[in-house]
């Protein structure tokens, strides 16, 4: 009987796993996919929101492509229980699926601030394609959009909201923006850059209620507006409220499965959970951090992709050990690139910084001994060296190239990365590296199942 693979979740991790199973397997297997939504890329939703791409562009695999891979799909269904003793998964419609091995890649869901009115009609999350469609219909030129939350997710759609001709106010309960992506100096630069570009930012703003205007049953006034009230300061009137107040991994359904879950599903170097034939990948997995070596949850696209490929290769019978994921984020706001890597917030690291407020540009390099372990970089996206330095800093952190003899020099001028990068032989260390132990294949080069 062919081996039966069950993939739970059709996001980046699940899609990469299925593609890799088909590429790596030596004998044909059965793949079943359970997905609440048609597979699409969350990364590109901001470009759908600003209408620079059509809806068709967001899908990562059409029904035809999945059929070509020989994938049986339970679409619109949610897994509700996993019986790891019986190797059986139960779905929300009562269907049961038996498997030989299974990948949990159920991702995350948005969380709204726990305030009265947060579930109102004028209040949106921006996480799924359906939610993106909901926001798309609401923003028109001149709309006042209030974004609740100033984290990475919020910032990915900032340009799109402005491109639609809306005015934007960002409210954040914390004293500063982008708390999990850049340090205080970086956040300050981004905040003043956004202010110069017409975005209002209210930090330390504790939202109390989102409520109706005019005393009627509706939460909105005759113009359809919503009122946001804060513990201190003036109310805000919004045409559209977007809640970007964080995400939570979708793990509740596994509470009786016996799988070891800490901050996420603990996985080993093969992306196996505590149950050997159950793998986990992406946001739900707590795997090795490349820089620290400790278990970590990296709820980012590149980790989902690499986890998915490694899990898929192992499910296909290969033995691929994952070196670990590198935390990295990049967002561009009003033509300012903002990126961070690795242990950018390690307070025990030896840190050097460089600041050019007039550009603006900022670099922070974090060292442990000879090795760069993290970096923060801000700079105008129109200047190619910003983009090039982003990649080279990633390469230095990823490779762990011994760059200590350039530390003092980079401390004096952290804007001159390239000579140190090249002279540290970073390229020599990186060239043999592949995630699957072989050259990667082009995205359209996946064998069609027979």
């Amino acid at each position: 009987m062919p081996r039966r693979h069950l993939i739970i979740g059709g996001g980046t991790a699940g899609m990469n796993a299925m593609r890799t199973i088909r590429t790596e397997e030596s004998e044909p297997s059965e793949i079943t996919l359970v997905s609440t939504e048609k597979p699409y890329s969350r990364m590109v939703l901001p470009y759908y929101l600003d209408r620079s791409i059509a809806e068709s562009h967001v899908y990562t695999a059409t029904a035809k492509v999945l059929a070509g891979w020989g994938v049986k799909i339970h679409l619109g269904r949610r897994a509700t229980a996993l019986d790891t003793g019986a190797n059986r998964c139960t779905l929300d419609d009562g269907t049961t699926i038996e498997y030989d091995d299974c990948l949990i890649a159920t991702g995350s869901s948005p969380v709204r601030a726990p305030v009265p009115g947060a579930d109102g009609r004028g209040v949106h999350s921006f996480w799924t394609l359906d939610q993106a469609k909901g926001v798309l219909g609401e923003i028109t030129p001149g709309s006042h959009v209030v974004m609740v939350g100033a984290g990475f997710i919020a910032f990915t759609i900032l340009n799109s909201i402005l491109a639609l001709g809306a005015t934007l106010t960002i409210v954040e309960i914390a004293p500063r923006i982008l708390p999990r992506m850049v340090d205080d100096t970086g956040a300050g630069l981004v905040a003043s850059w956004l202010t110069r570009n017409g975005v209002s930012i209210h930090t330390g703003a504790e939202l109390v209620t989102i409520d109706e205007l005019g005393g009627g049953n509706s939460r909105r006034d005759s113009r359809g507006r919503t009122r946001l009230r804060f513990a201190k300061g003036a109310d805000l009137l919004a045409d559209v409220v977007i809640m970007a107040t964080g995400i939570r991994t979708n793990l509740e359904w596994l509470k009786d499965s016996g799988i070891v879950i800490e901050r996420g599903i603990r996985v080993d170097g093969h992306l196996r959970s505590s149950v050997p034939n159950v793998y986990a990948a992406g946001d739900v997995a707590e795997g090795r951090d490349l820089v620290t070596g400790a278990p970590a949850v990296h709820a980012i696209e590149p980790t989902a992709q690499e986890h998915g490929r490694v899990a898929g290769a192992n499910m296909a019978g290969k033995s691929v050990t994952y070196k670990g994921s590198l935390l990295m984020n990049i967002v561009e706001v009003c033509h300012l690139d903002v990126a961070s890597f690795g242990a950018w917030d390690d307070t025990k690291a030896e840190a050097t910084t460089g600041l050019q407020p007039e550009r603006p540009a900022y670099r922070k390099l974090l060292w442990r001994g000879d090795r760069l372990i993290g970096a923060i970089i801000l700079g105008p996206s129109s200047q190619i060296w910003t983009t090039n330095d982003i990649g080279m800093l990633k390469g230095l952190v990823q490779s762990g190239a011994p760059a200590g003899r350039f530390k003092e020099r980079l401390g004096r001028n952290p804007f001159d990365i390239k000579p140190a990068y090249i002279a540290s032989r970073t390229t020599t260390m990186l060239l043999p590296e592949t995630v699957l132990g072989r050259p990667a294949k082009a995205p359209d080069d996946t064998p069609v199942a027979v």
Binding site: H57, N388, A440, D444
Partner: protein
């Protein structure tokens, strides 16, 4: 496959490769749009061109959320403009710093070996850039290491 082999000792810093690259890639003589970049070493006493090594992993390609980076007929990792949305994930995934982003087109771009006839190699008057059937390697590491060694030694004196 044929790749760009760089012989840094031969580079004079004339920047013809950057001009030729930008012309081939964009139709304009704009070195700012070149995907091969000449860097100075040792306080502008020597130079070397640097570009995408066409690595085996293709970090840019595997990171792309919409499959917009593929392998061309000549084996180069190549951006498909119509598919790229400009999300910049490739610029952070590429550990060589050889992905580029064009704010005018809002697309990523990179060295695609000019479809098999690299303009930089053709333009180089000193044969510092060759297009040959060799395994890609770290063409500049040893050169930069030595030059940097001199500079650091001078600073120490």
């Amino acid at each position: 496959m044929k790749v760009l082999k760089i012989v840094p000792e031969r580079c004079t810093g004339c920047l013809r490769c950057e001009l030729a690259c930008s012309y081939m890639q964009t139709g304009e003589y704009r070195p700012a749009k070149s995907v091969i970049r000449v860097s100075p070493f040792e306080g502008h006493t020597s130079y070397a061109p640097y570009t995408c090594p066409q690595c085996a992993e293709g970090w840019c390609m595997t990171a792309c959320p919409v499959g917009a980076i593929t392998i061309s007929a000549v084996g180069a990792k190549d951006v498909v403009d119509d598919t790229c949305v400009g999300c910049k994930l490739c610029t952070i995934a590429c550990p060589y710093g050889t992905m580029f982003y064009d704010p005018d087109t809002r697309k990523a771009f990179k060295c695609n070996l000019c479809g098999g006839a690299p303009a930089c190699a053709e333009a180089c008057p000193t044969a510092a850039i060759l297009y040959e059937e060799v395994v890609t390697e770290d063409w500049l590491g040893r050169f930069a290491d030595e030059r940097f060694g001199h500079a650091l030694a001078r600073e120490a004196r």
